[in-house]
Symmetry: C2
Subunit: 398 residues, 2 copies
Amino acid sequence: MYDASLNTPRAEIEARIAALQRVLARRGVDAALILQKSDLFYFSGTIQQAVLWVPADGRPVLMVNRSLERARAESAIERVVPLPSPSRIPSILKEAGLKAAGRLGFELDVLPVALFRRYREIFGAETLDVSTDIRLIRAVKSAFEIDLIREAARRSDQVAALLPGMIRPGMTEIELAGRVEAEARRLGHQGIVRMRLWGGELFYGHLLAGPSGGVPSYQASPTGGSGINPAVAQGAGSRVIGRHEPIVLDYVFAWRGYISDHTRLFSLGPVADDLQAAHAAMLELQEEIRRRAVPGAVSGGLYDLALDWVQRRGYADHFMGASEERVRFVGHGVGLELDEFPFLNAGQTLPLATGMVIALEPKLIFPGRGVVGIENTHVVTPAGLEQLGRYPGEITVI
Amino acid sequence: MYDASLNTPRAEIEARIAALQRVLARRGVDAALILQKSDLFYFSGTIQQAVLWVPADGRPVLMVNRSLERARAESAIERVVPLPSPSRIPSILKEAGLKAAGRLGFELDVLPVALFRRYREIFGAETLDVSTDIRLIRAVKSAFEIDLIREAARRSDQVAALLPGMIRPGMTEIELAGRVEAEARRLGHQGIVRMRLWGGELFYGHLLAGPSGGVPSYQASPTGGSGINPAVAQGAGSRVIGRHEPIVLDYVFAWRGYISDHTRLFSLGPVADDLQAAHAAMLELQEEIRRRAVPGAVSGGLYDLALDWVQRRGYADHFMGASEERVRFVGHGVGLELDEFPFLNAGQTLPLATGMVIALEPKLIFPGRGVVGIENTHVVTPAGLEQLGRYPGEITVI
């Protein structure tokens, strides 16, 4: 039942483990205990109920609660052993001939307190936070990962291309969303979209028409949408899609774990000239940032550049949110999670590096009227950003 | 843009806050800081980026980062104030005339370590875990909540009733899943299904045919399914649905935050007689448990009863998973989250109470062949469990 062709290749896993081991050695950390699902998948190739022990020096051990059979079928980690209970980890490591860690790294940005306390008690070691180290490693993608993201972006394009044929007069946002999502599933969308930030969540993304596009988000996102209820408070709502209003399809395609984040605009009949002009401006800004986003460019500097550009064009009050509801970024890394390094946020100092993958999303919000703009997933190359999505950036008038 | 008719009524919020305050007073905790999304929604009626301060004595304060306007529109909490940064909480409380907490409660089962450390530094108070207290309060539903779950179950029935008309020969699990999900969206499914357990996740649920129904889960679930890739490792996969195999639709309907968990079986042409008999046995077992699940019954005792029953019928090796892959439960509480108290698990001592809502899911797994059984969301009443789903429990032969 497990298709081995979908497994993460051994060479990938080995390179990722080696990168983590270099950081552990440099920081003087004896081992890292990988527990979080996205990190576990990245370093082991499986998300089965398991913990991955990565010593600074030596071979990793994948200890599996369930399903052992499946973890063995999926993971390129050589040592895969059963784990009846977390309390057994020290004895398992001892039997494997591994020495206990004096300094042990955890993913403290995501690990819940109660669980951390349990593990701390089991090990009695000095504990350190290695989450930033892990996020920095994951930020630079391999050729294998970029190929998967390229496939995801190709499917984002396919989904966008299907929307005009699915929309009908009188349809609500959520009804159209359901139809679009059914096509995404047919194309292999995995459904689940992971975010690292605690409390962050997304269901495909935001399909919003007209005024819905101007409803702010509780998350760090330029759009929110009213959503179908206050319990989710984002995404498609029960409003009927009108004519001449911008319809935004800001949807993630998640393919074999990897994310393409992609926004395109549609309308039933043309939108007003000023919105049309605003949209064209965002396409220009995308081009502008793309050229400057070369390896070594500072992530926060690209936001400053964008802000300066929209100020000169008179769009500052609408950029990435209206007035006090604005968010202070213009892009974010994507990979196994939607919120990866680098963040093109005000004040961020992380420089871009070749192989980083960035969803760049310059947008303008007009309260009561909607959102315009673009989003594409890009790879950082020495020549600037390579755009992966190919569906035309102009508003598709239906 | 915010539909006030969808708001949680003031009387609900007041009763919930009062219940929490009684527990805080009893435990000698001065205040609780509510941060997790489901808890925040339960106690305030909004999931906007906010923290809710609940003193053991006095009125709660909702401090909102974003969107303030939306939180004010949605929440029945009277004191809603802006929160530029968590470090400002103590001064905001002081300005509101509230005294500092010497003993402060947190949701330590879910709160990440790094975030907890930041809050601990801000308050300098003794910190306690109030997560179990909160979960016990949330376990007993109000009439308002039961009505919403009833609505969710009604929609689960509608989705099940649509499946026979959507399946076509040659269709893959994921293609059928997409179509079913589109209908669920049209009926108002919110998409996002929340789980409390760290690393727990679900995308609608499991639509599995034949052998897929026998693939174990990494989660505490009788079924897993191969899934579309190892990065999600559950749910519908790319296998073509065959004739005469059990097709399980184990899907959640999430309506205004609240969950109905619902399983029905279908097949293209009848399944083998032994599977048919096994399915009928699970309907009988559901009936058996239902009668015994009265207020005061011990949750773990209901699992023991089920296990004893399947042992006598010769189904023990298939119950809730095949041999060593089995999970040791037969039901779980549902509400805003899929994994609420009570758990009908081996060893659980929590007694049932009137108003608890339980998804009861007796199932039998036959590796290589599939899963049979039933799941319904029920309300605990003095007469036993009241079943909310109405779609026939027998296998629907198409």
